[in-house]
């Protein structure tokens, strides 16, 4: 049951991306192209998502625990650090250059465009590299 629900979550996420055209990098880059072929769609996607998630999260976290887990694994940090800003800045550049981010890239992967394949390959490598550097950095503290 648990596995089925998790699978469904992933499917829903993917369908949401496909339905909204977010798995099409051209649509994403056009949102970011304020002075060119601007397409505001992405703002509506994010708006639609937050409109559901904000009340949804509030309701769901009222319970003492999730259905299939013992505790809620919610981020607790409230500080701002260089890592957050730097990471987001770097991420944003890549997002603008490629029009892909992790969710859409993985959703588009089965469509097997050459560009998608190479993006995913270097994305996963970049993730592993970041983990490695962070681990080494934090071990020296």
């Amino acid at each position: 049951m648990k596995n089925l629900v998790t699978l469904l979550s992933g499917l829903m996420f993917g369908f949401g991306l496909l339905l909204s055209g977010m798995a099409n990098p051209a649509k994403v880059q056009n949102f970011l192209d304020l002075f060119g072929t601007w397409d505001p769609s992405l703002a509506f996607v994010m708006g639609g998502a937050i409109a559901v998630t904000m009340p949804g999260f509030w309701l769901v976290t009222r319970r003492s625990k999730p259905f299939f887990n013992d505790v809620f694994h919610l981020p607790t940090r409230t500080d701002f650090d260089a890592r957050l800003i730097t990471g987001a800045a770097i991420f944003g550049v890549g997002w603008g250059l490629g029009g892909f981010c992790p969710g859409p890239a993985m959703t588009a992967l089965p469509l097997a465009a050459e560009g998608t394949l190479i993006f995913v390959a270097t994305m996963l490598t970049g993730m592993a590299a970041s983990k490695y550097v962070l681990q080494r950095r934090d071990n020296h503290v």
Partner: protein, 144 residues
Amino acid sequence: METEFTPLLSLLGGGLIGASAVLLMATHGRIAGISGILSRMLPPTGKDQSLPQGLIFLIGLLLAAPIWIVINGQAPLQSVSNNLPLLALAGALVGFGSVWGNGCTSGHGVCGISRLSGRSIVATLTFMSTGFIAVLLLRHVFGG
């Protein structure tokens, strides 16, 4: 190339993404942050209890397009650049940056903002800004 502004489909698709995030929170108590889900599967891995469920979520994500093709009889509209070196660079930056910055558009942009997380609001504003600048440079300065 131009793309069509699709307000209704965008809202619906976004709502579906939101529903997925709420479902994941209700069932597993976790943020639907794709960069986190993916990176936890990559080395160096520790004893992460979320790995099996993360993998199942990923499988669902990967099945969406094939099922879409079966339902619609054709692949979704897509326009991916064939500038492979550019996409290789973009991927590396997205991968590195998302892990370094503790999240991406789903983790910070959707889930974090929905939780009114100051960190996520700042992160989102930051990656939106550099995203805008990157496209400005790419399309209007370097003509890429």
